[in-house]
Symmetry: C2
Subunit: 270 residues, 2 copies
């Protein structure tokens, strides 16, 4: 999905850090950076990346999330990477025999938002591609975050786990309700215009014999009006529909409608 608005500046709001522990593949660092950038995170910390840093593959995979890549901090130990944080959550898909609270990304997002709103710093630990976080790293964390995955198919790659965590953070901040664009809906027309459409249509149908018997007409009219009301048509759409009706109604008046350009057809193409 494209849609990036390059006229908008990147903003660096107070937001949780993402700490990747000993990632093996540069691609995963890059796609994690991209996932962070999508939802407005920017503080990426890497503990002992296998292939060193900087990493060209990470840059390529980040798909222009350069503002995240440029700010990356590299550490030798997890302890150093979380040194300035006062709330740390460990993400893991495996049960640990540890006295730790476990919750989903929604609860984690909510708690991180409160923590950061109070002026403190928070972060999420993510483990190695093959075997996740060590118990020593989980022990250093306040709680465990795990995703509500299908138990029979629980394996996410790092960037996807980062994406869900970043999404949950954003969804629950005041930014969550801000979509990149809003509904393009015009106002629904005043009811008199809708009634005008109904009467126009019903008048034409009276002439065509649509209403088979007079006693059936009222219920048929009610059903038609009910169906057409659900569309919440705008004034423009009502004009277009009236054009459609006129065009069909006049169909038999013309020997060859293709050679004419009836006004009603123009309206339908608005």
């Amino acid at each position: 999905m494209a849609g990036t608005d390059s006229s908008v500046a990147i903003t660096y709001r107070p937001s949780p850090a993402v700490i990747l522990c000993e990632p093996q593949l540069g691609e995963n660092i890059g796609t994690a950076a991209r996932a962070m950038a999508n939802f407005g995170l920017w503080d990426l910390r890497i503990v002992n990346p296998r292939d060193g840093w900087p990493n060209e593959r990470a840059v390529a995979a980040a798909s222009r999330a350069d503002h995240v890549i440029e700010k990356v901090q590299v550490f030798d130990t997890v302890e150093a990477a979380v040194a300035d944080l006062s709330l740390v959550y460990a993400t893991t898909a495996r049960r640990r025999d540890m006295q730790k609270e476990v919750f989903g990304p929604d609860v984690a997002g909510q708690r991180v938002i409160s923590h950061i709103a109070a002026g403190q710093k928070a972060g999420f630990l993510f483990g190695r591609e093959r075997w996740g976080l060590y118990n020593e790293e989980v022990a250093l964390s306040d709680a465990i975050v795990t995703l509500p995955v299908e138990p029979a198919f629980a394996s996410l790659n790092i960037a996807q786990a980062v994406l869900i965590i970043a999404y949950e953070w954003r969804r629950q901040t005041d930014l969550g309700a801000v979509l990149p664009f809003e509904s393009g809906l015009a106002d629904t027309a005043p009811r008199e215009e809708l009634v005008g459409l109904f009467e126009h249509l019903e008048g034409v149908l009276d002439k065509t014999g649509f209403f088979t018997t007079p006693d059936k007409r009222p219920s048929m009219v009610n059903n038609l009006r009910t169906a057409l009301t659900r569309g919440s048509f705008s004034s423009q759409e009502i004009r277009t529909l009236r054009g459609v009706i006129s065009s069909i109604d006049r169909r038999h008046e013309r020997p060859n409608p293709n050679r004419q350009a009836p006004k009603a057809k123009d309206e339908a193409e608005d």
Copy 2:
């Protein structure tokens, strides 16, 4: 993140279809299938895949989401792919000049869940890697879904967009509260055990001269008790902590503690 429980059978619950329109790369079909499987979706439909179907690269990228790949249906047109659905949402990151409602994945998830709960079928359309959905495809949809992304960095790949949609579906179903494992927290100890710990510690500290003056003792005790109460220790943890205190307390009684194996140390390693 590993963690798949292969003893659990895949379930095929009523859930929304994912329709990929003319995907170019098999990898994207595969990673989309994996993202669906993570959150329990399984109905994947592909319109005119560029490289045909079946596609080896899709299978490889699906990381064993074979149950989704095997059920894939291929169609020539979007109209055919959505023929049996009565609710269709178009996902797009670009504003369209169309009279369509626009909402986020949370609202979309909620509406799809209601629709499916009423016994009807629903699906999400996803566009081409490069330019998304055509307006004709969006026009065929009930509404537009867009993600609450950072406007300055709005580009997600298809699998990531599918992941968020699938996550929102699952989060809002009754499955959303079911995590693959729960907190391993033992019960908090009864208060008398905590008071036993306090009195043990305070008795030792009385001997060591920690409480500098008798008039400061009560407030220092309150502060210590407050800090230690916040840990909500289990009975086992309280036994361990009392072992720790005893071990330190007896430190000076022994010429070389390393050559002994005090009971308290064993407890600390439980």
